[in-house]
Symmetry: C2
Subunit: 171 residues, 2 copies
């Protein structure tokens, strides 16, 4: 699929069919796409928990208001905030960790779309509760949840604002 078709065809999916996503595809979303995003100073402080266990999915849904539908898999993009702090100072955990996780998320969502999978990036969840559910060490913080599954339908394309671009000084 051509890159612009992938970029423009990706939708945020909030209703999924129950069909499972293969472990190989989920692994590939991270290892062939997510970790190929750039990271600040090539620090790669990101961590990726791929969730397919139905009990874990259920528990995560309970603490994640932003997680809609019943996706068969989640990729929880985390950051080792201690490592981010060591490598980037205070800018590390407060800014660079968010940026790097978001660029990895975008790679994952684009590749998923090319594979016929739907995704949605979610920031609305209870961070400490999710950390406890996943048994994460204190330093590893979930930044985004990306839901993954086969879309039940294709949502309409939201209109893009066009008046957000200018050349040189502010118009």
């Amino acid at each position: 699929m051509e890159i612009l078709n992938v970029i423009q065809g990706r939708r945020s999916i909030r209703r999924y069919r129950p069909d499972p996503v293969s472990v190989d595809q989920l692994q590939a979303l991270v290892s062939e796409a997510g970790i190929w995003a750039p990271s600040a100073g090539n620090t790669q402080t990101w961590r990726f928990a791929v969730i397919t266990n139905s009990l874990l999915l259920h528990k995560i849904k309970l603490v994640s208001p932003g997680l809609l539908g019943s996706p068969p898999a989640l990729i929880v993009i985390c950051q080792d905030l201690e490592e981010a702090q060591l490598k980037g100072g205070s800018l590390g955990p407060q800014f660079l960790a968010i940026a790097d996780a978001a660029m990895a998320a975008q790679n994952i969502m684009l590749y998923a779309h090319a594979l016929g999978l739907g995704t949605c990036v979610i920031a609305s969840f209870h961070r400490e509760a999710l950390q406890a559910i996943l048994g994460l060490p204190r330093s590893i913080a979930p930044i985004f949840i990306v839901s993954v599954g086969y879309p039940e339908c294709t949502p309409r394309t939201p209109i893009r604002k066009k008046d957000v671009i200018w050349f040189n000084e502010y118009k």
Copy 2:
């Protein structure tokens, strides 16, 4: 170009040839790729200043330690932080604005690579100085600079950490 070739072939470019990038291509990087990223609640609070004026490029370089080489163009990805606050509360400017700008940056960098252009995303610059140089209103904050140009050479591919992925509970 296939999506995985684009994702895995993109490098961070820090040395550029002096050849200019066409206005049409720069416009397309934003309007065909950047604004097609998802945004929190579809708020699209992002703004994109495309810089090709040589005096502006020179001034921006003086206040941007992270900006290496002499790229012929920059895309300064900004956020309207007042709008982000109105729509997302304090999470808006502190988190969602960074995430949305980063996903837009990733789209821009992938499409640029598919067009044979090099890019680098930069977070190290003096925000207020850049705001003044670009004549931005107080509410519009630069979040990232993306340098754009024809690469002078292809950097080697940095090794990716492989032990950053696990399934279900923390291993």
